[in-house]
Amino acid sequence: MDRFRMIFQYFQSNSESVMNGICGLLALASVKMYTCFDFSCPCLTRYNMAYGLGIMFIPAIALFLCGLILNRQSLVMLEEWRRPQGHRKKDLAVIRYMCSSIMQRAMVAPVVWIIVTLLDGKCLICAFSGSVDPEKFVGLDNTTLVQVQQLLAKVPCKDDELMRNNTSRKAVSRYLRSWSQALGWSILLILIVAAFLARWLRPCFNQATLLQARHWSNYIDIEQKIFEETCCEHSRLFAHKCILHFFESMRREITLHSFSLPREGQEAEGEECLLRGITDQDQVNKLLKTWYYEKPPLDVSQV
């Protein structure tokens, strides 16, 4: 429990950590989505390629857009980019830094989806089963072209009546799966090497500019958060003053209209103070009605 709370607090303490957390969650969500998704290849000649490649790329694009939407910093960056200059100059290096860090984080989930897809192999088997060379496989080379195409298109469907006990189906399937897994592992290796090189070689180029850009992008983020918090606090105080002013003005009006003598010399006890001079069912009803029909103006300057 303590460990969980510590992890939670660590993630909340820094806005970059929050974004890394969201990035990780999206990556896990993409793996979970793939395992829940019921892949069913149509096993028809023209539809296979479209379905296979569609399942590989369309969810990746959707996950990329999700990564951009869920990242708070993308809004901050856009605001900084589009704001009028005013008294504060705009630093393009900061905007570029923010943009690149947002893109890097948004790319994690789609890359995870594509790699999981390739390592699993079903998408590539579905998409490219019609494109293998039938002469390489026994049992597929002595029929007409159209029939070969149809047979190959049915390779991804293990339960199809034509394919149930076909050994060449297993051969084609294994062949395509090995290609798919090789591609998946190669992409993973290339990406990890690229990330490693980028992190190691970065201090050799322009470290000072990078430090500045990172500092100011953090600053802009924090400044916006604090502005929002200050506005919240201000609106709370404003509302409090406005309501007290309203109760006070109601009390004055009631005293004026009921012609009763002002209470002199009575020290307000605790409860009487909270009653604010409203001590009657009719007075309460009048107060509530006035609150609805004539809300007080948004002006607490004379309080």
Binding site: L65, C157, I243
Partner: protein, 338 residues
Amino acid sequence: MDKFRMIFQFLQSNQESFMNGICGIMALASAQMYSAFDFNCPCLPRYNLAYGLGILLVPPFILFLLGFVLNNNVSMLAEEWRRPRGQRGKDPAVLRYMFCSMAQRAMIAPVVWVSVTLLDGKCITCAFCTLVPVETLGNASHSGLSQGAMKRVLARIPCKEIYDGQELIANEVAIRYLRCVSQALGWCFVLLMTTLAFLVRSLRPCFTQAAFLKSRYWSHYIDIERKLFDETCTEHAKSFAKVCIQQFFEGMSTDLVAAHCHPPRKAPADVGEAAEKLLGITDQGTMNTALKSWHKCKPPLHLHPPALHSSNGWAGEEQPPPHPPVPRREMAAYYSRV
């Protein structure tokens, strides 16, 4: 248990986080509802379309309305929209902002339902099984069936146990085809929705940032003001009730002293706090009378000023006097303790 409490506290700390939390819960609930739902295609020509499209479209509509119902801010929006102008102007931009943010949050659960339904494929398979292209996928010409008979056969595609058209078109082929179409539609729908959300979120800072900041501040203000007003009224009601009940008990004890013709007991100087809290009611009969009169004759909602100990005007079974129409102060002077 602690974990849930912490997550709950984190979500409640910020009003927006709380609404996002409710949003996420509804989305998960809609996915769970779909997996718990037992889909049963009727496998009859005209009913399939109605059933399939009904399951696809009616629950999202209900979830959308539920999203509005569960949102506390709906009543705030309605109140702000309908209130008379009074001394405070109305800003339509604020109303629009409030409505848009509520609608966006309410859209999430229906979108999740439609996506999960399309990606699963059962609804589309049921609804459109009679439209499968039999000429390309099966043997339409060989069967010699009339249109109506063929439609009846095709309508049974989703129900594998009673399907009898294996020569017309293989069951697995048809189901694979329909499921592929459904999943393609599902992913395109997901992509379309995420693109729309992305555009809505990213175009706003480019065009209307100043107006947005204004609307957000004032919509937040209206929410806080309403909450603070409710809190102030609750505090006032508590104090009102306390003073009213205190005055009732004081009135009771004064009445009873007057009725029994006892001189008021001079309380000893060092009476304890507990004796003070007894409010002058110190025996069973008196207490019973107090309880009975609380039930039969509740005091009027009108507090006396604290200096005067006026009685309730009666003790025992008689009817209470009618509520005095003029300020009580003048009347109180005529009640004397005899």
